[in-house]
């Protein structure tokens, strides 16, 4: 039965690819659908992690908060139009347990303003916990650990 079938690295990797593609192509409405209901999404920094500080730059502890966040981004918040381009390096399997696969992946994210200005926006690691639900792979937990503690301007679009 599906829920039993363990998540393969290929499936996990495909999820990650589709996730960043959805963001890079501006399909933000799909963002919450990459997660299960009882999920956790965090953006934090390597420095806070190393110093044991629990603060997040962005924190959603369930899928409803993902919807609230993205609705704010699309309707309430105002910012200069821009898009991202994510580049993924190889993934490392950290653990596999009861059908959940935990994976670490180095990434770069380039930010492109509508003016054309292009910059290396952030670098860091994805630490993902991926499960199968209704036959489809989703994130149970996604932790985005940024290498830098200094953010340029703002983070409106999730990483």
């Amino acid at each position: 039965m599906d829920a039993i079938a363990p998540v393969t690295q290929a499936e996990a990797r495909a999820l990650l690819r589709d996730y960043v593609n959805a963001i890079d192509r501006g399909r933000l409405g799909e963002w919450p659908n990459f997660f299960v209901d009882a999920c956790s999404y965090r953006i934090t920094t390597r420095e806070n992690e190393e110093r044991g500080f629990p603060l997040s730059i962005m924190l959603c502890s369930n899928r409803a908060m993902l919807f609230d966040r993205i609705e704010a981004t699309e309707k309430a918040n105002i910012f200069e139009p821009h898009s991202y381009r994510h580049i993924l390096s190889d993934s490392e399997i950290v653990s596999e347990s009861d059908g959940a696969l935990t994976m670490r992946t180095s990434f770069l994210c380039v930010r492109i303003m509508q003016t054309g200005e292009t910059m290396l926006f952030v670098s860091g690691e994805y630490i993902d916990e991926i499960v199968r639900e209704e036959g489809r792979c989703r994130f149970r937990s996604k932790r985005v650990v940024l290498d830098s503690s200094r953010i340029d301007t703002l983070i409106a679009i999730p990483l």
């Binding site: 953006i43 934090t44 920094t45 420095e47 806070n48 500080f53 629990p54 603060l55 997040s56 730059i57 962005m58 924190l59 502890s61 369930n62 409803a64 908060m65 919807f67 609230d68 966040r69 609705e71 704010a72 309707k75 309430a76 918040n77 105002i78 910012f79 200069e80 503690s149 200094r150 953010i151 340029d152 301007t153 703002l154 983070i155 409106a156």
Partner: protein, 420 residues
């Protein structure tokens, strides 16, 4: 060489005074130099950090006042010193990590001169030369080559410093009401929840104007407006600090009597937003409590020129603003709670932290607005902004935040120190 007259001439402040801010102030390098001397090295107090960042003897953090790096260190007697991070020999910084701990001295990496925790020079490598040859010139006297040490003031675990002997004592500098709010918010043992910073592509003053501008809070941050989290129609006001240089903007956790303007007035953006008809899907952002038993749910306090103490419901933070040249600024955030917070309150503060910082639901726009302005005014260096909400002066409008008096208060302090 730029003379002072040159500068006054170029800035040419309009007759309306602090109801105007000439745009040239936001990009001119000579104005920037004047600010460094008159404000950052001048008669003003600057926030450096927290005592809890310095747990032991020799614990230090690296902070800044304008263009100057400052070592903040705890000595063996428990005193805290603010030292300019520049070796007296050839200018090498003594420390270059954000924070750390030394035993009882700072050793310069370049030629190993050593300074004690008060900044006094205690040893010079090869001072006597080698086998009687070389060494320091006889007239050299260590006493004259210590690190520059600043005046320090500590209040509720917050550390402030000033370069100038002329700066009034801290409590006179900000005034009793402002001392009271620091004690209100920081009067209990604090705990740091985390830190990060933001690069703002604008002059530092555009950010400080933003902080001191209650007018924008519910308009630029539409999330505030539509979520009824902070509106000018709520009960609240502005409390001006000593000489009007500082301000506290506050509002109360009450129902919003006249709030329908935010949904109806077609000249407000919040009225155009269809979202949130039924509020947020997740209640955590609105699941708040009265931290100080006074029903005041929001306070934003600044200490002129560059310090901010923020209470957004239960989301508490210090902000420190550092200019990086005329057109770039770094904004340092420290989120905090209380040592005695239970797991539940801590968790809720962390959730409410979604409102602050570079991704903050009601702060992200502040990271960008200054850069937009910086770009759009560059062609109009001869023009000025217009601030006439609540008059042209700095008197608080009793019980109202529909005033730019606090922004004019910033310019009052600015003009007093820079002479512009």
């Amino acid at each position: 060489m730029q003379t002072d007259d040159d500068l006054g001439q170029r800035v040419a402040w309009p007759p309306e005074g602090v109801a105007r801010a000439p745009y040239v102030l936001f990009s001119d390098p000579h104005v920037y130099a004047r600010e460094q001397a008159a404000i950052f090295r001048g008669a003003a107090w600057h926030f450096l950090g927290l005592e809890i960042e310095l747990p032991e003897t020799g614990s230090y953090i690296l902070s800044h006042i304008g263009d100057t790096q400052i070592i903040v260190v705890r000595d063996g007697r428990g005193d805290i010193h603010a030292l300019v991070n520049r070796c007296a020999h050839k200018g090498t910084p003594l420390v270059f990590a954000k924070s750390g701990k030394v035993a009882d001295r700072f050793m310069c990496i370049y030629h190993n001169w050593c300074f004690d925790l008060r900044g006094d020079l205690v040893s010079v490598a090869f001072e006597k030369g080698v086998r009687g040859k070389g060494g320091m010139t006889p007239s050299f006297c260590k006493e004259q080559h210590g690190l520059d040490r600043l005046r320090v003031h500590r209040i509720c675990g917050l550390i402030f410093a000033t370069f100038s002997p002329d700066t009034p004592d801290f409590e006179d500098y900000i005034g009793p009401a402002h001392v009271a709010n620091i004690k209100r918010v920081c009067g209990r043992p604090l705990t740091i929840l985390g830190q990060y910073s933001q690069i703002l592509h604008s002059n530092w003053k555009l950010y400080m104007e933003n902080v001191k501008d209650p007018y924008h809070a519910s308009l630029l941050h539409a999330f505030n407006g539509v979520m009824k989290m902070d509106r000018l129609t709520m009960e609240g006001g502005i409390t001006m600090g000593a000489r009007g240089w500082h301000h506290i903007s506050y509002s109360k956790m009450t129902v919003d009597p006249g709030g329908e303007v935010y949904e109806k007035a077609t000249q407000l953006r919040s009225a155009e937003i269809s979202a949130y008809g039924f509020g947020l899907r997740d209640p955590v952002l609105t699941d708040v409590w009265d931290d100080f038993g006074d029903k005041v749910s929001l306070t934003v306090q600044d200490v002129f020129p560059c310090f901010v103490l923020q209470q957004l419901r239960n989301c508490l933070a210090f902000r420190r603003v550092r200019p990086l040249g005329p057109e770039k600024t770094e904004l340092f955030w420290t989120a905090f709670g209380y040592a005695d917070d239970g797991a539940d309150r801590k968790a809720k503060r962390l959730a409410q932290a979604n409102m602050m910082g570079p991704a903050g639901l009601i702060s992200m726009e502040d990271g960008m607005i200054g850069a937009l302005i910086q770009d759009s005014i560059q062609g109009d260096q001869d023009k000025a902004s217009v601030m006439e909400l609540g008059g042209r002066g700095i008197d608080a409008v009793e019980g109202s935040r529909a005033s730019e008096g606090s922004v004019r208060g910033f310019w009052t302090g600015y003009r007093a120190l820079t002479g512009l």
